[in-house]
Symmetry: C2
Subunit: 372 residues, 2 copies
């Protein structure tokens, strides 16, 4: 039976299954505790004070953000220990300083001397970003630039430590492969910390993490904190590389059937890419989920039925290419729920979560924000 | 010289060049006038009352929308003649009726008898969607369902006419190919109208359009109105199929350089897919523009420089694969502007336009909205 309240929602709407989310949160918290590291959840996926509250039993802890807008909102919600984990642009330092002046312990990251000079002048604490997998930014742990940047920061008293993120771990599948990337993160960050310390520079913080590596890490000796973001909701990309099961995905988009093209095997719905995002993160995986996997209104997957293509406000539902059998009969007006490829991208298309509460009872509405 | 105000904007920010937009608006208005059809601009790209105002010299005219949220906002802004051009879901009819009760002449579209029954019961005027190119929804003009649906609507006095949209025209390049799709739209819509009239049913409205076909149409005999949306801004997808030049693109995302990976030829910026959207609409075109074409802060394209990959808040800028030469030196702090693949998707990631006014002078801020 579909939860009765869903039928009254406008479509498309973003639905959050709180019980699944709490299970996901507990899973990573327990793993971090077993590994003896602090967890610094990344709030870029959730962008919601209500979700943040459920990460740490209502007591604001350390968090990670991807925009200064997130830093400002979460500071106002009581989170004072914030890492802004995108390389700092010098033109953002005035806003960073304003937030720090209000009492926020906001730390930035950087990987070059131009940023370090600007950050030192502004007196803002920083971590040096380390490149552990060639994914994006960061200084290689054996690059002479590391101690040069560290020196600039230390002279101004703002060197806090190092951080890395193995974004390439998203491109491999299975616990062993992710554990290998977790060890790369650990080894690179710890090597960089040792290089700094050997040069007489402080390095209190050694921060690592991505959702795949955080769950697979077996040993984090030398690491002080772990970061991850999408783990609270999970998504088809994470299921596709074996970090979670499809049944762990806490986020879905409620939609309504508006028509059919029987000769082409199509069912048309009112959730297009505006509701799902244009993210096609499963396209390169073993199982391509199109623009999302289709479930009934109760959240049970309908085998091999995916959103095979999408326009702005139209989704076309069809059997996955190569699948035998026929698509189920889904009359006009039928409500469905679509699991997203990428929770960060899909959630960003919506202004609120419609929450199925873990304790049961009526749907709740939790606002979410966007922007920079 | 970059416009001086841009340097003060936070990054990433959405920039709109009003002079280019006005030129684009004038071009299609003049073409519609020459073809002797009414233009019903689609506001799904703009979602802004200020942009809408510039479509028709400040006098609200007929418009098209893709969500009921758009219908409500534009009705409140003075637009009373609105076509909601996504197949109506029965659960939306209460909201449609409420808007009509307030005086909005809102018309819906549909392509099946279940919808027609619901719409007839609700007393809401409708166009029958015609399938002219196999792209998505619609009844084939020679399908017996056409007059059956028309009959249901006419009995309730709510049959207004027919409409079609050749979405497949986006997948072909050049004016001749688009003119052929324009003729397919015209022929299918006019044939459907004639079938309805021959059955004794009224068909006052014969509505066609997509941005490629609207610009390429040579003759629209029998058509009463033309629809198009992205034409006001244009984008790299439209330039890639020859509907506009790159210099016509009115929308860009302002970003700041935050770092480099010289060994990989990468420049990192603070505009990732959150600012650009995940749309990769040029991936299947002759020239793949990655996540966008890079310009200097004044809006001049930097040859062959694209956003080659993107994470949530990071863009990686590099030369287009296969390009000789070296990338320009873009120091940390440099501001750049990125032209989008798909204006509808990129604009949707932002809450406001920062407008370079056609008349010169200080930047203006025009709010835009989203949601359903």
């Amino acid at each position: 039976m579909p939860p009765p309240d869903l039928a009254a929602l406008p479509t498309p709407s973003l639905v959050l299954d709180e019980a699944r989310m709490l299970r996901n949160i507990h899973r990573l918290s327990a793993h971090a505790q077993a590994l003896n590291v602090s967890l610094r959840p990344h709030l870029k996926t959730a962008k919601s004070a209500e979700v943040a509250q459920r990460l740490s039993g209502g007591v604001p802890g350390p968090v990670t953000v991807s925009t200064l807008a997130e830093a400002e909102v979460f500071f106002d919600a009581g989170y004072a220990d914030i890492l802004y984990a995108v390389g700092i642009a010098p033109n953002k330092l005035k806003r960073v300083a304003a937030l720090r002046a209000r009492g926020c312990d906001l730390t930035v990251i950087l990987d070059n001397a131009v940023q370090a000079d600007a950050v030192a002048r502004a007196g803002v604490p920083a971590l040096i970003e380390i490149d552990s997998d060639g994914h994006r930014g960061g200084v290689a742990p054996d690059d002479a630039a590391l101690t040069a940047i560290g020196g600039i920061l230390h002279q101004a008293g703002v060197l806090r430590g190092v951080m890395t993120h193995a974004g390439e771990s998203y491109n491999v599948s299975g616990r062993d492969a992710h554990a290998e990337f977790a060890e790369r993160e650990r080894a690179a960050a710890v090597a960089a910390a040792e290089t700094l310390r050997a040069a007489g520079l402080p390095c209190d913080v050694v921060s690592v993490g991505s959702t795949p590596t955080a769950h697979a890490a077996r040993d984090l000796s030398g690491v002080t904190e772990l970061r991850a973001g999408v783990y609270m909701f999970f998504d088809l990309v994470m299921a596709g590389i074996g970090v979670c099961d499809v049944d762990d995905i806490a986020l879905s988009v409620l939609t309504t059937v508006i028509g059919h093209q029987p000769a082409r095997g199509w069912t048309l719905v009112d959730a297009g890419w505006m509701a799902m995002s244009r993210d096609r993160g499963t396209a390169a995986q073993a199982v391509d989920q199109g623009y999302g996997l289709v479930c009934d209104a109760a959240g049970r997957p309908l085998p091999d039925l995916i959103v095979s293509s999408a326009n702005q406000e139209h989704g076309i539902i069809a059997l996955r290419p190569g699948t035998g059998g026929t698509a189920p009969d889904l009359p006009v007006g039928t409500q469905l729920r679509i699991l997203p490829n990428h929770a960060c991208a899909t959630a960003a298309q919506h202004g609120r979560y419609h929450v199925l509460p873990a304790a049961g009872g009526a749907l709740q509405t939790w606002p979410r924000f966007g922007g920079w």
